[in-house]
Amino acid sequence: MLDDLRYRLRVIFRRRAVERELADELRFHIEQYADVEERSGVPRDEALRRARLAFGAIEAIKEESRDRRGVGVIDVAWRDFRYAVRTLARTPAFTVVAILSLTLGIGANTAMFQVLNGLLLRELPVASPRELVEINLPEADLDRGRGNFPRYPAMPYPLYEELQRRQEAFSTVFAWADEWFNLAPAGEVRRAPGLWVSGDYFPALGLAPALGRLFTPADDRPGCGFPGAVVSHEFWQRELGGDRHAIGRTINVHSRPVDIIGVAPAGFTGLQVGQTFDVALPFCSLVAFRPDSTQLTSGTTWWITPVGRLKPGWTVERADAHLRAISPRLFKASLPPDYPAVSIPAYLGSTVMATPAATGRTYLREEYGTPLWLLLGMTGFVLLIGCANLTTLMLARGAVRQRELSLRLALGATRGRLLSQLLAESVVIATASAVAGALMAYVLSQGLVQLIATARNPIVLTLTPDWRVVAFLALTGFGACVILGLAPAVRASRGNPGDALKSGGRGVAGDAGGLRLRRALVVAQVAVSLVLVVAAFLFARSFGNLLGEDLGFRTDRVLVVEASLPAPAPPPETAAAVKRELIAGLRAIPGVESVGETTNVPLDGSNSSNVVWLDGASRADGRQAYFTRVSRGYIETLGMRLIAGRDIADTDTASSPHVAVVNETFARMVLPGVDPIGRRFRVEASPTTPERQYEIVGLVGDAKYRRLRDATRPVIFVAIAQRGGPVAGGIYLVRTSTTLHNFAPAVRDALARVNPRLRFVVRGLEAEIRDSLLRDRAMALLSSLLGGLAALLAAVGLHGVAAYGIERRRREIGIRLALGADRRQIVASVLRENARLIAAGLVIGTGLALVATAAARGLLYGIEPRDPVTVTAAVAALGAVALLATAIPARRAAQVDPISTLKDD
């Protein structure tokens, strides 16, 4: 047994010694034979010759002896591996180029997949994530819901309580809601992602604390006060330095000191993939923070997300059916007393449904799901194009080694052995690239995430490789290896050894096939890269359209200031006074041109809408209109165009008639062909305000409202002072005369002077709107990068084929030149030959592009995926690059020296 092992190890690892012994052994045999011949009078030389002849194909015998040594797969693989490494080391330039380009390709693909995996595929790091089910209302029902929607999709707390009481599908129904917490004790706000959670949130997720303890249902009881805070592992590391004695330390949340009672386990970032939390608080603490808050009792504040854990034996489908079945009772029991009468039937007719939550939930998925798949497809194409170039290189390598291979075939090596040796080279290249690619992907994926993250909206994704990433990497590597190695290896091992040996170094008949394959590859490269170039052009133009879009207002030199007093809210008189001082303080800052208050910052994604109909018409004729409550100065600050009538004025107060300034679209839709000033309309009752009549006092130009991509909507600006009670604080837009960079500190000082208790956030409007285009910017940037890379790779491929074609025709060109052909004709004929390939690629590529770009439809703005101008431009651009790539070798063809070419023979 031990002998056996020693024998095998020796065969595998003392290869050279074993080989030498085999050679010695066979030589001994031949010499013995020669001795016999010699004894019969033959001279030594002749004797040896005869001996060798009689012995037969010595290499074949060696080969077979090796096989008989047994050894098996490992040895063969090890042998081929070493052989491959040796051969590759002999051509370092090729090896470096091949590994480098494949590393880039595999790395980029893996990075893309890692992000995609982290965002879309990865299951939550909690106990049995597949049992988790998110409970929400369908979009249609939410759209008909009334009240405040601080989060979306979400439901009111009382509905959740009702749900807990009546459902039978889940062992627990817990809930959560995210909110930006302010961790600064005073002054400028320090925004931190926070979580409100029900007491059974952590137990139901099966999480164990990294330190201290997590909340239990006992913590989350009405009137609980401040049972403490649970912080995330990342927060504990970052803010508390991983202090083992962090329990009992206090942090400031919304200006209240709260004790830390525990640290959540590492890797747990909440149920929203892509977002994380710093601090979690129990729902019951909410009233302690905000005594006047109605969030836990209001049936019209839609803000929490319930999640259920399925009972054993229940499926998501069954739970969904169950929830839908009990929906009528749920909504009947939870009907809020303040619900507007007109909307009650819609509320009672709503349903709750179950959606699988194993991978968590995030708005990022809708935002970035398609883009990530598209980008992965594009990087995949780039890898393919790059692989095609390497295949060509491998083919060329095979051609160069044709003689060596033929010789080995002639000496008795089997084709199978040659094939596996040639493939081994691709395996070595692909493996090295996959390993390097994995490292590169790790860095690159972080960069990708940072590309779409902002300081205000950080994105936290778990990117550590899991089995999917490893499988992806292995598959990409394997695929690259097959593409790279198979065709050249099969070709190289197929040739007839005699032909190759006879023809010397020059082209063999079989080479024509090589050229055919190369040409086919180049056509494919051009076709695929055209798709990527079209995509790049489309995304770039779409981004350009967004940037160039007329917003209807000016964003430069506008600061957004959010200010508020900590809870509890002061009495109305104090609140009104604080507000007046605040606005006065802002206006008093030197360099401030105007200040306006608002409830919605344009283009920040928020919106408020209600049904509106003309006075005298019936509600049934009403239509959806969008609202922004503003003060005097808003329209001026944003540089909006006041077309007729007047702005909201300081004289529009709670006691004066309700007034409105409408935009052009509203006027056109509701009052076509009529002067809107002085007309009256009514607004449907909402949970906070009864049905009301407004008089139109002004008309402003259209402006973008909720998001840049939205079509212009009918918007109504109403006086913020005519809302219910005054609130101490709000959102202020400040237009300044100098650049914002110098200005923000002055605003901070002024606010601190006005009232030291004020909490505030200051940011630039322009930057904020730019941030809302991050996805479009990322798509434009990445697709341009990939498109450019694809075009470059295709150009390299074309150049190679053109150069090779000319090399093959060198003699012919030489003869033609010698016979007096015009050099320009030669160049033209070469160019024509390549132009045919390019044209074929472009035609196929156009067809592919017309089909493939449809996938990008939802992401494009102001441009159709089949936009003829874009497609034409892409064809022209890629065609020009491609022609240029072939023109260089074509010029070289013209410089062929006929004499030296012909002398070669």
């Binding site: 056996d4 015998i61 077979e64 096989d67 047994g70």
Partner: protein
């Protein structure tokens, strides 16, 4: 060398012949082929093409082991010797061979 064409060895018989030859004393490849040829009155001629692969196969199975030594004319030669496992194998195969030839002979004689 006789005029008769040499016999074709049935599959696996070469192994048996090698083992039998080595049962006498350790030998190198050349000598093994000569011995077999001699012992079979030139009826069996071993092709080098199959001898060496066979030797390596037997060595791998652990039936024979190899050692380098000096040949009669003082060349370095690889000597193969039967192992204990090989000797047992030889006995088993010899018995099997006898049984087989007997049985085959009987069948042929009947007809």
């Amino acid at each position: 060398m006789g005029d008769e064409s040499p016999l074709l060895l049935p599959q696996g018989t070469l192994d048996l012949l090698i083992l039998r030859t080595l049962a006498v004393e350790p030998q190198h490849g050349w000598a093994i082929s000569q011995r077999i040829q001699l012992a079979s009155s030139d009826m069996v001629r071993v092709q080098q093409g199959s001898l060496y692969p066979a030797l390596h196969r037997l060595e791998r199975r652990g039936w024979i082991k190899a050692e380098w030594g000096a040949s009669e004319n003082n060349r370095r030669a690889k000597y193969y010797a039967l192992t204990r496992k090989g000797r047992a194998e030889l006995e088993a195969q010899t018995t099997a061979w006898h049984k087989l030839t007997l049985a085959v002979g009987q069948v042929l004689d009947v007809s």
